[in-house]
């Protein structure tokens, strides 16, 4: 028998062990290891949701260039057509499609509708999001 001490998980996590409540760890939900599809969907939905909020603020800041006249805006449009930004647009689209479609599933199942079909709905969301992402991604790159 060999023994290793846990670097991050010292006994402080469970003071005295007996009868104590585990310490609240705000980020425990993020761990995707060994999780099933529904759990992964939940992590994706939350991360994408936070990402979309950040994007919304960025978007508003960018729109404020409009107040600095047509030249500033044209300059921004040229920048937005760079390959890096186009690639990021595809990531944005993936997040929107995934969050939006999965959100519809969560909202349906979460209000007691189609509860027994939740797995089928999840598969449907994945397929539909994939197809729409392919079409949308192609359009972003072509147009």
């Amino acid at each position: 028998m060999a023994s290793t001490q846990h670097p991050s998980n010292s006994s402080k996590a469970y003071p005295g062990h007996v009868g104590s409540r585990p310490r609240q760890q705000m980020l425990r939900w993020v761990d995707p290891r060994h999780k099933s599809a529904g759990y992964l969907g939940f992590i994706f939905n939350r991360v994408a949701g936070i990402g979309l909020v950040l994007y919304l603020y960025m978007h508003l800041i960018v729109l404020s260039t409009l107040t600095r006249g047509p030249e500033a805006w044209d300059g921004f449009v040229a920048f937005a057509k760079s390959p890096l930004i186009l690639a990021m647009d595809i990531v944005l689209l993936a997040g929107l499609l995934g969050h939006g479609l999965n959100g519809l599933r969560v909202a349906l199942v979460g209000s007691g509708i189609a509860v027994k079909q939740q797995r089928t709905l999840l598969n449907g969301v994945l397929v539909l999001a994939g197809v729409l992402l392919l079409i949308g991604g192609a359009l972003i790159l072509v147009l």
């Binding site: 469970y14 585990p22 939900w29 509860v115 027994k116 939740q118």
Partner: protein, 254 residues
């Protein structure tokens, strides 16, 4: 033929830092994980603390985390978890419960909710004649193992949340009574931010429950009941005993 597997076990010992102990175990792959634990205890380390009762998934007392997933070690085969001769088996206590020692957790958070739900621990389990099998999904199937609480991302971050097993218990208690005021009281208890509305529909509880209780499905059905009740109240429709939203409310004989 035996496999030689590398087992790691989280050791939680009072007033000591948590450590991981390693053991090499020879065991036939068709044996259960609980056999591995008992073999280590019998042959290598008498200080190892673990809990078990029936050895056949009836008592729910042995639940642990094996290779990242919550299991009842008494019914999970070594070959299904370790996969190959020479493979690794990492064992730890259930998550989201206070650890008492090594693989043993304090089940109080679960039992406290169960008590609030008024759920008899022992109850009839077979569907009555004429009762639809799949809607029944007897809650008495719940062996109070705590696997759903350990697997739930919401329990992991919110100690106020009633949790999958407790909410499923309330669903079943509602099903067990035809008394409208009692049903209403039970629904009041879960129609709260820390009750049915706290769930984020990750469905990990239903995925891992060893007794097919489908706690997530029960939570969603409770939400439907609560929503319908709100709509009825909004429209001023009087509560009727018959308004069951497709749920079988035949009282079960105790």
């Amino acid at each position: 033929m035996s496999w030689t597997i590398n087992v790691t076990i989280e050791r939680h010992i009072v007033a000591r830092p948590v450590t991981t102990d390693r053991y090499t175990v020879e065991i036939e792959p068709h044996r259960n994980i609980l056999d591995v634990i008992e073999k280590i205890w019998a042959e290598q380390d008498r200080t190892l603390t673990f809990r078990h009762g029936c050895h056949h998934a009836s008592c729910g007392s042995c639940a642990i985390v094996a290779n990242g997933r919550e299991v009842l070690p008494c019914i999970v085969h070594v070959e299904d978890t370790v996969k190959k001769d020479g493979g690794t088996l990492a064992l730890g206590p259930l998550r989201n419960f206070p650890v008492i020692a090594d693989l043993v957790v304090d089940m109080e958070p679960l039992f406290a909710v169960m008590e609030k739900a008024g759920m008899p621990i022992v109850g009839p389990a077979d569907p009555l004649p004429g009762q639809p099998e799949d809607d029944y999904n007897a809650f008495e199937n719940c062996i109070e193992c705590g696997i759903c609480m350990s697997a739930c991302p919401v329990v992991a971050t919110d100690s106020e949340y009633m949790g999958p097993a407790g909410l499923a218990a309330v669903y079943q208690s509602i099903n067990h009574t035809a008394d409208a005021s009692e049903r209403s009281r039970l629904l009041d208890m879960v129609d709260t931010p820390s009750g049915i509305w706290r769930c984020h529909v990750a469905y990990e509880c239903s995925e891992l429950c060893p007794s097919n209780v489908d706690p997530a499905g029960k939570i969603m059905t409770l939400r439907r009941m609560a929503t319908f009740r709100r709509i009825r109240r909004l429209l001023g429709i009087k509560e009727k005993k018959e308004a069951t939203h497709g749920i079988d409310t035949t009282p079960v004989k105790q």
